[in-house]
Amino acid sequence: MKKLLFYALIIAIVVISIVLTISFFTPPKKIPEYSDEKLRELALERGLRAAPSSFDELKKLVDDNSNPMTPQKIALGFELFFDTNLSKNKKTSCASCHSFDKDIKNRGALLDTLTKNDKEVNNCAACHLQDQSGVDRFTFSQGDNFVAHPYLLNTQTILNVGFAKHFSWSGEVSSIKEQSANSLQDHYKMNLSPKEVETRIKENPKYAQKFEEVFKEGVTFENVTKAIEVYVKTLVTRGSYDIFLEGNNSAMSHEAKRGLANFINFGCKGCHNDISFGGQSIQRFPLREFAQVYDLKPNFEVIPTPKRLDSEFPFENSGGYLGKNNSHLFRVPILRNVTKTSPYFHNGAVPKIREAVDVMAKHQLGRHLTLEQIDEIVAFLRTLEGDIVDYKIKEYR
């Protein structure tokens, strides 16, 4: 008996040691070291194309016959985008949440706010206008009268959405036109009925002539959304990644190139694809739910059942939003400029990009990335960061 116990113990130790050492003998997936040309080829093969650098190229990619992009219409959309009259309290414009400076070349908004006494202070925008991120940087968006959305949804960026096929967090909206109509009418956003929008526009004489020039029907609610759509399509950013794709090998650091290779090989590109790196499909999140947390404190039930905490997401489920059909279906977010748009996920529960990358790898790809791999991917994501391209459309006509 004693002998048996002794051997059992020895065998147990041996087995445990073998199990523990297995990981040392199975090397992690090795991402090959690509040459710059090969990497570029791989990225292009997978549709991770560069953002257009001229208006002509942009038009080829996003122009739509039902709502053609003309310089006049874009100029009209631009005025509407920044017009606070298009909200019930006359304080909110599209740019209040999708924020960037009206003059994209302006380099003095903060200094103005700090030094001029008459400036109305919107304290976050003061610093963050220069980010040109197309978001408000809040955890959850606040619309008309600063009322928070009941689902506590985080504002998505409006930049580069021209290349996307799906809009809003659930992805159920299929055009910018439709989304801007929703936003104008939504009680928690701009809170106006189509009739009120038309009245507000007609009150302003500067619009009357422009609408006549651009549209046959003049001022209608649909035409407002059409004008906004063509303007939003011109909001494109280009980063050092685009310059790399166009042939400049030194535009990206070695670390960022490794990050791109990881991005392709780990499978991130499966969903975050095309020019916009996302917005092309609706996917389930989280796909792998192995981070379930149970509350094991005694709960004085007849049959103690451990309560599952945070069962829906690998982060705090504030707002309780569950995506399309309440079934965890979300539009894949756009990764261009993602490093500027913290906090992350639909309720803004994850504040840092590295943590977001980690969550995505664990729950969508089932991978535990090393710190090095995470940092490489973040370095790559930083190369997707850039300012809004000035297409010089006014001179275009």
Binding site: R107, G108, A109, L110, L111, T113, L114, T115, K119, V121, N123, A126, C127, Q130, F138, T139, F140, Q142, A148, H254, E255, T339, S342, P343, P351, K352, R354, E355, D358, L371, E372, D375, V378, A379, R382
Partner: protein, 600 residues
């Protein structure tokens, strides 16, 4: 159990201990593994094998066979002593605070040699020397070096790490807290901790610099203010949020946000700002300024130092405490006592045109405080800024820097008292008090009336640099004067605050005023400084005389009140910052010295 197993196990314990000898100086990668193995194996061996063996051994030979063996009992005593000292070293440690730590260390070290000698003697006496023990010895000797070679591979990989540092290399300051709680507390409320994302003035200035000069320019600020962010590739300093609002980190005591972050994310989230590791891993520094230091994070780490589990961290702390020499050496260097170490950040120049903006170190170099020939007069940065103050005098703190460590006569306090009493004071009154006391040691006033002139002398007696120094364009030091005649009417006054909070024009200010290339004041954009509009700061040990005209017909005796006032930020700067940080308070005016005198 066969005695051969016991022999093997005793030698395992002995040799894993021997390999830690300083004399052998084995590679660090091997050392840390052997150290951990020594402790784990010893505890396991003693609990599961030695204790039962000793019990049965005594029962068999003493109680049944009635063998009387003196050296057997001696061996047991020695074994107990070595075991107890080992347990003491592991659970309490050789931190230097008590004599027992050092005693245990020596007992454990020398006792083990005597023990092994007696052990061999004891075993060989009973039987003919057999081949077994020699085989064991030979095996162990040949086995250990073989084993020791493997971790070297990882060591060379470590050295080959050139791509930059990751979050785990920037050990979170909270990890230091577990043994250096008092120092942590001092640092956590100090201006060094709150120099980046939790400092409203800094966040606004960095953002302004990014806006005005391009986002890349932020790196100039971040080099000193946020080195961990620069090293890990962050382009800007971030601030904490509480939901949709700015967090009130500037009012938080003992780094609450950092500590919550650490609880939730461990070392995965990079700690921004000047952390413990930032200063304590600087290996080279020169006096050029603009972050001219070298931080080397590839250091000797004990086993489980990066562990994320509570058990691993607990075990790691025991390992460090039991033999802290390497830990001390890798976190403290002789360089840290020299002024040029501080100079790497406390001198500041424009990165493109080289114009000097802050020259605190250079001012010190030329001051009487820099006197390397006469040690009694030589005072380096830490002699004033890291020495405890009590009752407005330097009063070196007697105490420990490690919990339970050596009692030192002059613990270098980490309040980092300078002049910013305001931001530190939002968190801790002790910090505010330390800074105010230091400020009060800096200057002296004297007053005289001569030929209808009021003469006020201000002497920089205590500062080894100009008064004020640092961001001297954002520091206000000025004289507030009021003269009353015989009837009690105020016949002259200067240096009062206006209704809007700014110091009235014409006041005698001691400061530096920056102008741009067109000789216009630069305002908030201090890096645009090209021409010096005025410089009325007082160099070290110098006296400045300010004279005020008094009306000739004034009726004597005159009642004169002179105050030397200091304010950390001008009102217009605080007003600007408050537009972005509405909860920011107004910095108060501090009276450094006051003289009330009657002149007949």
């Amino acid at each position: 159990m066969k005695t051969i197993y016991i022999k093997i196990l005793v030698f395992v314990m002995f040799f894993t201990g021997i390999f830690q000898l300083k004399l052998l100086d084995i590679a660090w990668g091997n050392f840390k593994i052997i150290q951990a193995l020594h402790i784990i194996l010893s505890i396991a061996i003693i609990l599961f094998f030695m204790a039962p063996f000793i019990y049965t051994h005594i029962e068999k030979y003493f109680f049944i066979k009635k063998v009387k063996s003196m050296e057997g009992w001696l061996l047991l005593c020695l074994f107990l002593l070595v075991t107890i000292s080992g347990f003491y070293l592991f659970f309490i440690g050789n931190r230097g605070g008590d004599i027992f730590g050092n005693f245990s260390f020596n007992l454990h070290l020398y006792g083990s040699f005597i023990l092994i000698f007696f052990f061999i003697y004891h075993t060989n006496k009973q039987q003919k020397p057999n081949i077994n023990s020699q085989i064991i010895l030979a095996l162990l000797i040949s086995f250990v070096p073989l084993y020791a070679q493997t971790p070297k591979l990882s060591l060379s990989e470590f050295e080959g790490k050139t791509t930059g540092y990751h979050s785990e290399d920037w050990t979170n300051s909270l990890k230091c807290k577990s043994c250096h709680s008092e120092i942590f507390e001092q640092w956590s409320n100090s201006n060094h901790k709150h120099i980046a994302g939790s400092n409203p003035y800094y966040v606004v200035m960095e953002t302004l610099a990014g806006e005005a000069e391009g986002q890349e320019f932020r790196k100039w600020c971040m080099g000193c203010h946020n080195p961990s962010a620069v090293a890990t590739g962050l382009g800007k300093t971030t601030h904490a949020m509480a939901g949709n609002f700015l967090s009130n980190e500037m009012f938080e005591k003992n780094a609450k946000t950092l500590s919550n972050d650490f609880k939730a994310h461990g070392n995965f989230r990079v700690e921004e700002g000047v952390s413990c590791i930032t200063c304590h891993q600087i290996t080279k520094a020169d006096s050029k300024g603009n972050a001219s230091f070298v931080i080397e994070l590839d250091r000797k780490k004990y086993a489980f130092e990066d562990s994320t589990s509570k058990v691993g961290q607990w075990f790691n702390q025991r390992l460090i405490n039991s033999n802290p020499t390497v830990h001390k050496e890798s976190y403290s260097k002789p360089l840290y006592k020299e002024s040029r170490y501080c100079a790497s950040c406390h001198d500041e120049f424009h990165p493109q045109n080289g114009i000097k903006i802050v020259s605190t170190f250079q001012e010190w170099e030329k001051s009487p405080f820099n006197n390397p020939n006469d040690k009694s007069k030589h005072k380096s940065c830490i002699d004033c800024h890291m020495t405890n103050l009590k009752d407005d005098k330097f009063s070196p703190l007697k105490g420990t820097s490690t919990d339970g460590g050596v009692v030192k006569d002059d613990v270098k306090v980490h309040y980092f008292a300078g002049s910013n009493h305001f931001l530190a004071g939002l968190k801790s009154k002790e910090h505010e008090e330390q800074t105010l006391q230091l400020l009060r040691t800096s200057a002296k006033l004297d007053v005289a009336v001569k030929d209808n002139k009021l003469l006020v002398g201000v002497t920089n007696i205590g500062a080894g640099h100009h008064l004020p120094t640092g961001a001297a364009d954002f520091r206000e030091l000025w004289l507030e004067v009021s003269v009353k005649d015989k009837n009690g009417n105020v016949i002259y006054s200067s240096g009062k605050l206006k209704d809007d909070g700014n110091v009235e024009e014409g006041s005698r200010m001691f400061q530096k005023v920056f102008g741009d290339e067109n000789s216009k004041p630069v305002g908030l954009l201090f890096w645009r400084y090209k021409t010096l509009l005025s410089d009325t700061r007082i160099p070290s040990k110098e006296r400045r005389i300010e004279s005020y005209e008094i009306d000739k017909g004034a009726k004597y005796p005159l009642q004169i009140v002179v105050k030397l006032n200091f304010r950390i930020y001008p009102q217009w700067v605080s007003d600007a910052v408050r537009k972005v940080y509405p909860t920011l308070l107004n910095p108060s005016v501090v009276e450094l010295m006051k003289i009330e005198k009657e002149f007949k």
